[in-house]
Symmetry: C2
Subunit: 574 residues, 2 copies
């Protein structure tokens, strides 16, 4: 930055300043201290049962997690716990980065240090692998001072390893025993919190308590009435909303482009829902709605194209479209193809020698092999052959290490765009469409994961960390830390502990039923979705573009919260 | 936004507030009043010759623009011009949108109203076409109040039409005569300012003065010593830098992705230069440097791959790469292919019937046709056949209406990424590369054009508008408004008028030499480039990621300016 009176300053000093790695905003953000929830202002808090919620535990969960299945829902109230001996705690970041993660660490650390100056926090490196292989660094006040309120997970790094075998579990026990840990905080999504439940059950005998923290930009880790949204969602959505809002502004100025935007979020369309409410685009696709209405891919193409045709009649050959990354999974006929092809690939590869896998075959042979398979019907072939080449190829792409289809690798935005263009050409031939269709496609995902957290996520992440410490100090294990009433100011927030066991259900993974935490999809009966469904009809043909702008850290806009969260809370109350 | 005490408020009122089109930041920005440059505080200003610069006019320019070729460089100093009769002025936005455009209009409007309350400003709609076809709306205080400090060009819309025929020029004269205009402000890049010069020359006899305003996010409209950078560049660069900085954060957290980023900017790499200084990525490609060093595309691939191999040796299988959109134009062997293929296509289409154009042929026939052409040498075939299929196809894509190759349509990021992957596979075979290469490619362009302008661009755009009014009031025509000393605070800014004629040179367009304003490429001798070239060696192997964060409108970060601009100004001074 240029100082007030730059002529008086040494130019070389200013140049050095401009070249340093720390940007002004990063330095500015380090100075922000998130406010504590009132109950934490006098001490670590005490526990009280929270009544009025009926959390049932599945038999399978009770069988596999007998100890933690007894946990009851708890609320944290003012109070303190006398701590005689210093505690040694661990923390691990797991899965994709989410804005606010550094503040969770800061929250745990500062709560621990307030409780006892000799408390120690160990940060495991590069995700759960760090526990398995005993790689860590101690979290210090200096480290916190370098990362507080900044984006990413790079204070410790993250990873996707699962603690899913007896050997890995034993290695974790060994690490925690070796480090003499009393507690462990696991920051992650549904799978990581599943891990946390099993770790809690299996480390109980060595005195290690385990608390999970709800993280995921996708927003699909929710517990009705108890957990409105995980941390990270708001920042990522606002980051995407900035980009989509800018494209609104661009297309409304240039008057000649349709922007097709694919937004991250595979299993649920929460991100598209929030970004739509932030930006008022012309077309909004919600996966859960497409599934519920049993739309085919050609129905979806028409849904978009009809808006384009109608706007062209009004002289508007421009617009913005929001597409959830995981849309193909919600289109029944495509999902069936994905499941069948995954099955055929897995079976073929099981029989095949290492070098002769399915994907070593030429494309033609891959298609032939699928076509000849017992589970492949004529109807499947007809659907498959009716798809554009890029999608046909996409469906054949290598699966991930769990045998899952990799949605992020298919350019659904581009495929839909091409199908829409083809459809519009036909409509032009029939004299129905007279506009010009010029388009750009965009994919926003990784950039939003790495953004600076909003003030909301700074405060939320920090207080989740403090809540986790409180639960540990109160002797809890097998819980997820959560905060109620997020739509209200921090003054009104209520920290709670949600038992992990009742969140679990049975899900098919790699061909067998596994006990995992259920993902929450967009509720088509929720106020936020219903309001979107109503509003988007106006947005389609008239221009109601909203420009949310870049995330602000001071001024009135800095106090923003997710619109969907507020609509759900307020519409239910009102 | 949630108000301080939301429980006390009517939920429906809050919901309505959440659903309105105007976002909190948009409303907040409307309240900002850009400060006036001191010389304008007492009146419209007076003119004085600015000495010390040698601006020569080409003979061709003097022949085609005899009147405006006599213009001398002028500086605006304190003073006032007594205005007896109200003036009627027009303004037009031209070319791609750039942040700050609405403030140019605000600057002209408010300066005009301050000078005489009955002055009138007419805004032409959808670009130069609006002048040709007499489509406009009057700019009012209310309109300004709705758009000030906001992004995009949608107050009036924009377009790319050129006033390049005698008929169109006559239509413009007719419109201006009909509207009884005294002056016209043309906001645009090199081509639009070329238009402005010809309009000035041709509307002199009907008393219409014409002033150009330097706009372009690409940053390639510069005049050494007089115009450091056009408006819009800073905001677009910061918008891209936010995204790239977020990807820095993401890859440093997840530790497994290489992010290849293609950034807008065709003819010059100014955007990549600034974004690199803002983000400190691992690999930075500058087109002008590639051209100067005569690198082949395989050299460029190695340049990237060598960093990947070296980082893998250090256990770092992640990173960020910046690629200028127009890179292919700077690679001599590829550019030769582009020029030859464009020539062959143009010649074929000239002879062909409407339905039998080059692009109606099957790909194989297109290739055959090129292969058999006289200007196509064996060497060209060898280069062409050595390229990946997507690039081969890309080179054949339809040209734009001027016969130009459309760089934005070729996914250079993806092509380079695939070539790098192929090269790494070979290096792995040789035992040289032992890392894992997982990657994501991104294209950032349109979203940055539509961002809210930074405070710098708000102030700059506004004062450019005021400068344009001052030049008009002082009787000038055929000038570009500019402001010197942009690296200093607004208090030190100096408004000037740069004669347009000396900026023009002869350039081949559609096969013939035309008089146009020269684009400024990145100067490889400039301090900013030299500092980048030095610093990026450190950035390659160590991690020096900088996270510039989202654009801020309050707090210390709000006063940011382009780093490249400051380095050039300060290093020259220091």
């Amino acid at each position: 930055m240029v100082a007030e009176s730059p002529v008086a300053q040494d130019p070389q000093a200013i140049i050095n300043d401009l070249l340093q790695d720390d940007s002004p905003i990063r330095l500015e953000r380090l100075a922000y201290q998130p406010p504590l929830i009132p109950v934490f202002r006098e001490g670590v808090g005490a526990l009280r049962p929270l009544e009025g919620f009926n959390l049932e535990v599945l038999k399978a969960a009770r069988d596999q997690l007998p100890y933690v299945s007894d946990n009851k829902l708890v609320q944290i109230v003012p109070g303190d716990v006398l701590q005689e001996h210093p505690r040694r705690l661990g923390i691990v970041l797991s899965g994709g980065p989410a804005p606010g993660g550094h503040n969770v660490i800061a929250g745990v650390f500062e709560a621990a240090k307030r409780a006892h100056p000799d408390n120690v926090l160990i940060g495991f490196l590069a995700g759960p692998k760090g526990i398995i292989t005993n790689k860590y660094k101690e979290v210090t006040a200096e480290l916190i001072g370098t990362y507080k309120n900044s984006g990413g997970f790079h204070m410790l790094g993250t990873g996707r390893d699962k603690i899913d075998t007896a050997t890995k579990m034993e290695q974790c026990r060994e690490t925690c025993r070796h480090l003499e840990l009393d507690g462990l905080v696991v920051v992650g999504g549904d799978d990581s919190n599943t891990n946390a439940a099993f770790l809690a059950e299996n480390m109980r005998d060595i005195g290690v308590q385990v608390i999970g923290i709800p993280k995921t930009i996708d927003g699909d880790l929710q517990v009705p009435g108890l957990l409105q949204i995980p941390f990270g969602y708001h920042s990522a959505c606002l980051s995407f909303a900035t980009e989509v809002g800018n494209l609104n502004s661009d297309c409304k100025s240039d008057l000649k482009y349709w922007h097709f935007n694919r937004l991250m979020g595979r299993s649920a369309s929460h991100i598209v829902l929030e970004v739509a409410l932030q930006t008022h685009p012309n077309v909004v696709l919600i996966g859960e709605e497409i599934e519920e209405k049993e739309l085919t891919i050609h129905n979806v193409v028409r849904l978009i194209a009809d808006v384009i045709v109608e706007r062209a009649k009004r002289g508007m050959n421009y617009g913005t479209v929001l597409i959830p990354e995981g849309i193909l999974e919600f289109i029944h006929e495509i999902n069936m193809l994905i499941i069948k092809i995954s099955y055929i690939i897995a079976n073929y590869d099981k029989e095949a020698a290492n070098s002769e896998t399915f994907h070593a075959l030429p494309i033609e042979d891959q298609v032939q092999l699928i076509d000849n398979h017992d589970i492949w019907r004529d109807y499947d072939s007809r659907v498959y052959m009716g798809l554009p080449t890029e999608l046909q190829r996409g469906l054949l792409l290598p699966r991930d290490s769990h045998g899952n289809f990799q949605f992020a690798q298919v350019r659904t935005d581009r495929i839909l765009l091409d199908m829409v263009a083809t459809y519009l050409r036909k409509q032009r031939g029939r004299g129905i469409y007279k506009g010009t269709f010029r388009s750009q496609n965009h994919y926003y995902g990784y950039d939003g994961r790495g953004t600076f957290p909003t003030k909301f996520d700074c405060d939320y992440g920090y207080n989740l960390g403090v809540t986790a410490y409180s639960l540990l100090a109160n002797g809890c294990t097998g819980y997820m830390a959560a905060i109620r009433h997020l739509h209200l100011p921090v003054e009104c927030w209520e920290p709670i502990g949600i038992p992990l066991a009742p969140l679990m259900h049975l899900e098919e993974r790699k061909g067998r039923l596994e006990l995992v935490i259920a993902k929450q999809k967009v509720d088509l009966e929720s106020p936020a979705f219903k309001i979107l469904a109503r509003e988007r009809q106006r947005w389609a043909l008239e221009d109601h573009y909203r420009f949310p702008g870049p995330i602000q850290f001071s001024g009135p806009s800095a106090d923003a919260k997710p619109i969907s969260l507020q609509l759900n809370a307020l519409a239910l109350a009102g």
